[in-house]
Symmetry: C2
Subunit: 391 residues, 2 copies
Amino acid sequence: MLPKGFRAAGLCAGIKGTEKKDLGLLHADVPANAAGVFTTNRVQAAPVLLDRKRIRSGWCRSIIVNSGNANCCTGPKGMQDAETMTRCTASALGVEAEEVLAASTGVIGEPLPIERIENAIPELVRRLRPEGVLDFAEAILTTDTRPKVVSRKGVLDGVEYAVTGIAKGAGMIHPHMATLLCFVCTDLEAPAKDLHRALFRSVEGSLNRISIDGDMSTNDTVLILANGASGAALAGDVSLEKFQRILDDVLGTLARDLVRDGEGVTKVVEIIVEGALSAEAARRVAETVATSSLVKTALFGEDANWGRILAAVGRAGILVDPEKIDVFFNDVRLVKGGVGCGKTAEAEATRVLRRPEFCLKVSLGQGSAGAAVVTSDLSVDYVKINAHYRS
Amino acid sequence: MLPKGFRAAGLCAGIKGTEKKDLGLLHADVPANAAGVFTTNRVQAAPVLLDRKRIRSGWCRSIIVNSGNANCCTGPKGMQDAETMTRCTASALGVEAEEVLAASTGVIGEPLPIERIENAIPELVRRLRPEGVLDFAEAILTTDTRPKVVSRKGVLDGVEYAVTGIAKGAGMIHPHMATLLCFVCTDLEAPAKDLHRALFRSVEGSLNRISIDGDMSTNDTVLILANGASGAALAGDVSLEKFQRILDDVLGTLARDLVRDGEGVTKVVEIIVEGALSAEAARRVAETVATSSLVKTALFGEDANWGRILAAVGRAGILVDPEKIDVFFNDVRLVKGGVGCGKTAEAEATRVLRRPEFCLKVSLGQGSAGAAVVTSDLSVDYVKINAHYRS
């Protein structure tokens, strides 16, 4: 399942205090070019600060990841622990610590049980194998209910290459990155600057277009590694464009999977805004609707309460003309010119709302720009999960 | 309970389809100077649009209010209905329609059952009496569980006057106004421009400083009427300042009552931000913490999960230095310099969290500016109430 020249592993190091896997390692047998995108939160976890510095080299051999603890707001010891994780991993692999990146996810503010991690790393390295991707994908989960792995194939100049993405999400999910870890590896040969450009573009259209609860994480990390083991190589804009489409597909699929498996999620809803004067205006409207507690609780209740949608549109900070607004659930028009289309339309919209996935389209009737955000409902289970997350 | 020269009434007109009161009238026996503050949502209910126009005259005799229907997104018929409400009221009272203001609250997007309102108005006018304030306060409620009335007395030049405020809230409550109606009447004599200035200042420090669910309503209306019946009169800045303090007290008390009675609320929490470089920066941080789903679910769960507080501070769009941040629950310091203060502090903070009302203070350690927002927790009941609001 992993592209050529990559191995992975995952095991239980006892970080979570359960028997679940909580430590994972992804390794490139030959040095890989690398790029990363990180949280824009001003409060950042130690591994994020470490990776930001190391990724500047443009390459990477290994990524060591723990779940169950975010290693964030942990002071100087937090940075020491992040460095220790990478040093131990490097030493067991026979590489340099600077070639190893780290990621953590879980509770903020508690010191990392670093001895458990140190003790487990030698065994983790022994378990590295090409088929280890699912163990790795499991080891990085927190409140996710299932591992998320997406693989795609591409061809350049007749040579096939593979792209595999592994992600975790569940809570603190919001555009501009969330408690989201995502690791992409490919056996394509690609320069770090092309990787960075392609990754940034793909993230903008995928991971930065989803929202579960509007909260932004301190630990978001998306890394891409390209080791060239397939023999296929990027050369020029056409091949970059082909690679971009495959990467967009991998990250887009993972992004939707993240929402599907979000905390307490029962509905996955794509909010599409069209007819705006600018893409930025469309995006603000889409994000405001996507994060409205009242819209999200109505989605959970399968209530076609379009008044809340218009109320959210109206507070997005954009000049809108209520009398030009249309609202659709899939192809059912519920609102025309700012006024409801009546009981029959509501009944049809309610049938759409009963589905697990659908589109909610808002047409502003002002211009031709648009934007889309994938969001979820706000359920009783979301509150229950998050009221007692640490206990 | 009402100041001199005011009467009020409330009854069941059948708008809600229950036996609950849903139509109220507040009346000044002599023409009153008046001012208003309205929602900044771009989508505005018909009565808001009507009142904005009429309040420019600077005076008002009566306010007719219905609950159970917001008369918003109801097209041209919505405006006709709002006008009809005021015309009927005016005709039953023997005043001009332009002297009557209207307010509506409830479901968005359904046509107002205007005939029921027309039929009920004559009886409503007959029931007007000085003791009718509680009937009126009941008639304007939606998901609120209790009426909210606050009265205070003031003295100017030895003459006593009274100020009474009546409000409803419950959901769609957020700074910059919410599904919130608030009517203040006083028997002070005061020019409309002074009333407007005082009302605007008081609202900024009270109703614009509360958040229940981050959603902003289409119907927010705060009106003040001053009929001069007490014989006390505003004259100069000193008397205006005295009146301002009383109005601040009335609106501040109502604002906190609104949060206490918010949908599903089990905790009322004052978020205080200090040590910021500017009041605007402090306010952005306070509002981000106050609206974070993850902070609010942790408050509901009585979990001193300060990591979520720091994560919210970090995404407020303000340059902060995590290593300077302290966090307190009342007087218990939970975070010092961005790092947790340990298990004993957490245990003490948890004791604070078990109380129904407390302060959560974030000190940024950068400057001397501050801000405060009163917020609530996000509970299972909030989701249940809002999932099925219309059914």
